[in-house]
Amino acid sequence: MRFLLDAEQRAFAASLDALLTAADTPAVVRDWSRGDHTSGRALWSRVAQAGVFALAVPETYDGGLGPRPVELAVAFVELGRHAVPGPLVETVTAAVILSGADPGTAKRLLPPLASGGTLATVGVGRSYALDGDAAGLRLACSSDGIRLSPGHGPVRPSLDPARRLTPLTPGGELLLAGPLTEQALAWARLATAAQALGVGLALLDRTVAHVKRRCQFGVPIGSFQAVRHRLADAKIALEFAHPLVFGAALTMRPAEVAAAKAAACEAAYSTARTALQLHGAIGYTAEYGLSLWLTKARALRTAWGDPHACRALVVSAAGDRRW
């Protein structure tokens, strides 16, 4: 038992952080939100080169380094912290789905996901798929199987402008029989939970910095106890979501991943509410950077299973075995 990231994992997080700090992510987000994917694809390539998507691709395929869910969670915390746009979770999920396809299909489709050459999205049932207009590979999941969707419908806006929601065109090549597996869903939820945790951490950091700087009535507002205590509560929520995310990555049990998803998304969203309140009007504007994380915290809450659905899974699995 040693429930801490090792030196290599910490170094991986630090290198991603450095890469994303150097990139002008806010500008990339603005381009992406307008449907201009050029700068986003460039950033995507660098994220892929760092090995992020390869973590979800089995080692047996070209470019694969996985499955390594713990390292994936490490990466997605950083992607969330830097508000990187695009179908990140969906590309990971597509890789896990395709790992279960026949070897020929997997061998054909997985390497471009690992290398970053192809962005993928995944739609389940009639719900929207993220960034279908940017994805080169669109998987449509229904109860009868998973198909390579031939196209996508018109983009609908999300509360998070960087998320472009698209219905997938029915039909296309059948890749796998049967619905989305529990395991693929667990990967989607784990990546979303880690991303949400990163979003929450960024919101807390930025808000702490803001309240130290912003003065009212002659003193920094961070010296007001109501402000201090609200930030302390955000810190507590995030610090207790953190081990759930990494515990889930270690076991990959669906109920444990669902617990992490619910806790990380609730912590991120309540931190977003706190961040907005403590920033005041400036936080409510689209142009101030905070909005990148604020709106994502809301959107990730319902992506890949809202907190209520996740909690339902936790309760139904309880009693079967210890955590």
Partner: protein
């Protein structure tokens, strides 16, 4: 104690309901935070005004119906129950007009109010400045005396509606030598298209330009557009701020209608047991707010003024509004993420509630100090 309305009031309510039934657009107008939507909402103000429904509680000479406070509350209940559009003219009607009735001259009222009632002139507020959020007394934009009037120079921000509005009102420092920061301020009205004014729209979270920054460079304002004495702006504005946070800013009718909408959504989603308590709380909260307002209106009609208890009201409705819309988004599940829906527009709007018109932190300080008598803290 009596909650029944007089036959005259019930007749007024019935007349309003009938008119609204006949006139409310069957399709929602586009968002009033867009150019198209602003124009559509302005046209709706004109339609209201044509039949005397835009400012029911004003005197007849300015376009109103001399409605009582209770009749205004009933009108608002019917208005929102009918699903009528948001009021693009509300800054002028609820913030500037009460100030003119109390502190303006007869000439100012005659000149300003009729075009406000028809929507021909839409007003924006210009209170905040970059360095003065909750701390209004530290305003720095100035008004310098010139022949026949004043020259305004400085910067205002968070000016709601200003992206598309015609005129604005706000406080400017007219006497830099006044001994205390909230002295020496003038309350002025000015034209947003006057020479020297630059309007820079600010997009809110969903990208819509719900407010603007105003850059003012020696903007001329004639003496006739100063309200009250030039040094008395703070006192005059505070009486408006009392109104802003008091009865008129958020009428109970809004929340009664919102709670009904939520209840219908809940039923449409299959009446999930897991959100039943939250839907009930929305229904209960709307009724509580209505009755709280009726009690306040009764005290007002008894001659009492609305004092610090308006801080209770502000915290209540702003947190209620967010909780209601969060419940709606949760009910919608993944669909709740979509931005191009009425629910999303209302949710984004609700998020600003705890920040503007005096942050809820300031309101709680007021409640603690003035209603509970707790010692003044350093906050």
């Amino acid at each position: 104690m009596d909650l029944t309305h007089s036959p005259a009031d019930e007749a007024f309510r019935a007349e309003a309901r009938a008119w609204l039934h006949a006139h409310v657009p069957s399709e929602p107008l586009p968002s009033l935070e867009t150019a198209d939507g602003f124009a559509a909402h302005r046209a709706w103000e004109a339609e209201l005004a044509a039949d005397g429904w835009s400012v029911v509680n004003w005197p007849g000479e300015f376009g109103g119906r001399d409605a009582t406070l209770v009749q205004w509350l009933l009108f608002e209940e019917e208005y929102y129950a009918a699903g009528a559009p948001g009021r693009v003219g509300q800054n002028g009607i609820h913030l500037l007009a009460p100030t003119l009735f109390e502190h303006g001259t007869r000439e100012q009222r005659a000149r300003v109010l009729p075009s406000m009632a028809t929507g021909e002139v839409i007003w924006a507020q210009a209170w905040s400045e970059p360095e003065a959020g909750s701390d209004l007394a530290s305003l720095r934009s100035k008004a310098v005396r010139t022949e026949g009037g004043w020259l305004l120079t400085g910067q205002k921000t968070w000016s709601s509606r200003a992206a598309f509005a015609d005129r604005a009102f706000g406080l400017f420092r007219s006497d830099p030598d006044a001994p205390k920061p909230h002295q020496g301020l003038a309350y002025l009205m000015f034209d947003l298209r006057a020479p020297g004014v630059t309007v820079r729209p600010i997009a809110r979270l969903d990208g819509k330009p719900a407010f603007a920054e105003l850059f003012l460079d020696e903007v001329f304002v004639p003496d006739e557009d100063v309200i009250g004495e030039p040094g008395q702006g703070w006192r005059i504005a505070m009486s408006t701020a009392g109104n802003e946070r008091g009865l008129m800013l958020r009428s109970p009718g809004r929340f009664l209608a919102a709670a009904d909408r939520l209840h219908r959504l809940w039923r449409a989603q299959g009446s999930p047991e897991s959100t039943r308590d939250r839907v009930a709380d929305a229904l209960i909260g709307a009724r509580a707010y209505q009755l709280f307002t009726y009690a306040a209106a009764s005290r007002f009609l008894d001659g009492e003024s609305i004092g610090p208890e308006s801080s209770l009201n502000k915290v209540f409705w702003s947190e209620y509004d967010i909780a209601l819309h969060e419940t709606a988004l949760d009910l919608l599940g993944e669909e709740g993420e979509l931005a191009d829906t009425d629910w999303a527009e209302r949710y984004v709007f609700s998020l600003a509630g705890p920040v503007y018109a005096g942050t809820n932190e300031i309101q709680r300080d007021i409640i603690a100090e003035r209603l509970l008598g707790l010692p003044k803290g350093r906050r």
